[in-house]
Amino acid sequence: MRIDVAHIARLSRIAMSEEERAHFEEQLARIVDYVDQLQEVDVTDVPPTAHAITRHNVFRADEPRASLTNEQALANAPDEARGYFKVPAIIEEA
């Protein structure tokens, strides 16, 4: 099973050297081979379980709760300016 680690790493936003890619590919291939045994289970008419509990309709009232101050919100920010979180310029162009 050939896994396109470069593609997966890109989707996961993790930079990787060629060596690392090869290393992970080998490990992931073995793991995926192992989990492939699930294909042999008969799951006809078996619904998926996405939640371990059976609650539904858990709500809160539309009432305000204290927000953080700007200082608190930015206290852990790696870079900030004028009350904003600061990142390298995002360019959306043709």
Binding site: Q37, V46, T49, A52, P88
Partner: protein, 497 residues
């Protein structure tokens, strides 16, 4: 030694005026001073804060104020649980200096419960691992044999309790991360029913599997701590709105007539001989106390690990996407390593490459793969269906029995570094603990002996949803009828060779 006393005993003595909270906290801090260099159970310590809390408890008691049940009992909190006033790191570089501006609900209950917090316990990074070797900062050593791992991912919490570096501890369990380290360190660890304890403030690994739970040296302490942290939380949509029983009060009820299921699939080859012997003996012991042994089958057991490593990693790949160097946490200094990408993508990719360890990267990628276009149905959705089958296995079993008894881990603690090259082999050792998380049912590990090499073995009991009382009752009866819980590791302190 005070640092090895049980919480309920300490509370009694404080109430009787024989001991102060400060004395207890100091004793434990001294013990930490002595052995922490060897054990490495903690990521960050906060001794002043602990002593302050203890002092306040003593003052309150002197004034005659009513105190919560565990007031003054020092506790270690796994560093995956957010607490204000100090970093919450998840043993990861990416959160090394992260200081949350809020407390987890469970942390709030600990603080409101006036338990002095000694520090944040070491763990596998983001709770991913079974040995605490994946911590980005340092390993934790098993107090019973310091060349061996304490288990994981709550290795720090379990080791602290085993070494007398805490009276109580909180861990988290996604695939066995409380029960397995508790087992390998010879202490008691319980994973509650999913939704019994709030997850608000528990840094998420796999949202539909994670639960916070107690790690203690006795079943009674476990019952007390479970009671203190359980209950509905309006901040957690998945928390159960069910009353919390007085777990300690029902401990001494008789166990005769309780039916214990022994699943054939959990006793196949691959289990260490000493482990099998101890667990079988423990089950026999329960029968001698009046419980009834019932042979059962949990036919889909062999698919549990595969199911878990798809479901858990899929959720994790999404839960860990937020660690990107933008709003908090570590940000890479290097400009663009990925030359064809825009600067913001380079920021993400380098931050995560540098901030995460290998196991975390592995699981993120596995999870991303399982959810990716073309694979979602074959992997993720299919795994969710097999999960239903695993749950049904337990539902059927609990029609016939009150609890299921089995090993926690196929082997005792292995050597440091022994399994680091083989992730799959590490995953396979989770086989006995994983199903409980997938099914959302509670499970406890209680010490049941030592191997011929003097390494702890644990008996695991699994209960039906919200069946913690039955588990604790059986575990208590077992504990009280044996001497296992009285044995302590011989741990050399500072200055020893």
């Amino acid at each position: 030694m005070l640092c090895y006393a049980n919480a309920h005993e300490l509370v009694r003595r404080m109430q009787a005026g024989e001991l102060s909270a400060q004395e207890i906290t100091r004793a434990v801090l001294e013990r930490i001073d002595e052995v922490e260099g060897t054990v490495g159970a903690y990521v960050n310590l906060c001794p002043e804060r602990a002593l302050e809390t203890a002092g306040a408890v003593d003052d309150a008691r002197a004034r005659g104020t009513d105190l919560p049940p565990l007031a003054g009992v020092p506790i270690a909190v796994k560093d995956v649980i957010c607490m204000q006033g100090m970093p919450t790191t998840c043993s990861s570089r990416i959160l090394e200096n992260f200081r949350p501006p809020y407390d987890a609900t469970v942390a709030r209950r600990v603080i409101d419960g006036r338990m002095p917090v000694l520090g944040k316990a070491n763990m596998d990074e983001f709770a991913m691992g079974s040995s605490t070797e994946n911590s980005a900062f340092h390993i934790t050593r098993n107090p019973w044999d310091t060349e061996r791992i304490p288990g994981g991912s709550s290795g720090g919490s379990a080791a602290a309790v085993a070494a007398g570096e805490a009276i109580l501890a909180l861990g988290s369990d996604t695939g066995g991360s409380i029960r397995q380290p508790a087992c390998l360190c010879g202490v008691v660890g319980l994973k509650p029913t999913y939704g019994r304890v709030s997850r608000y403030g528990l840094v998420a690994f796999a949202s539909s599997l994670d639960q916070i739970g107690p790690i203690t040296r006795s079943v009674r302490d476990c019952a007390l701590l479970l009671g203190a942290i359980s209950g509905h939380d309006p901040l957690d949509s998945t928390s159960l709105d069910e009353p919390v029983p007085d777990y300690a009060a029902s401990l001494e009820r008789p166990v005769s007539g309780m039916r214990i299921g022994v699943p054939a699939e959990y006793f196949t080859e691959g289990i260490d001989g000493d482990v099998r012997e101890s667990v079988e003996a423990a089950i026999d012991q329960l029968v001698s106390l009046g419980a009834k042994r019932v042979d059962i089958s949990l036919p889909h057991t062999k698919y549990a690990v595969a199911t878990y490593y798809i479901v858990a990693t899929a959720e994790a790949s999404s839960n860990l996407a937020r660690y990107d160097g933008v709003h908090y946490g570590y940000r890479s200094k290097s400009a663009d390593q990925a030359s064809d990408a825009s600067a913001i993508i380079a920021l993400y990719e380098n931050t995560r490459a540098e901030g995460f360890g290998d196991e975390v990267k592995r699981r993120i990628m596995l999870g991303t793969y399982a959810l990716s276009a073309g694979y979602y149905d074959a992997y993720y959705l299919r795994a969710l269906r097999v999960r239903t089958l695993l749950r049904r296995d337990f539902d059927a079993a609990f029609e016939k029995v009150d609890c299921v008894a089995c090993p926690v881990s196929p082997t005792p603690a292995f050597r440091i570094g022994e399994k680091m090259d083989d992730p799959l082999s590490m995953y396979l050792s989770d086989i006995y603990t994983i199903s409980a998380n997938l099914a959302g049912i509670p499970g406890i590990s209680v010490p049941c002996g030592l191997t011929s090499q003097g390494l702890p073995v644990g008996l695991q009991l699994l209960g039906s949803p919200l069946g913690e009382e039955a588990l604790l009752r059986l575990a208590y009866a077992f504990e009280q009828s044996t001497e296992h819980h009285t044995v302590r590791p011989e741990l050399a302190g500072k200055g020893a060779a």
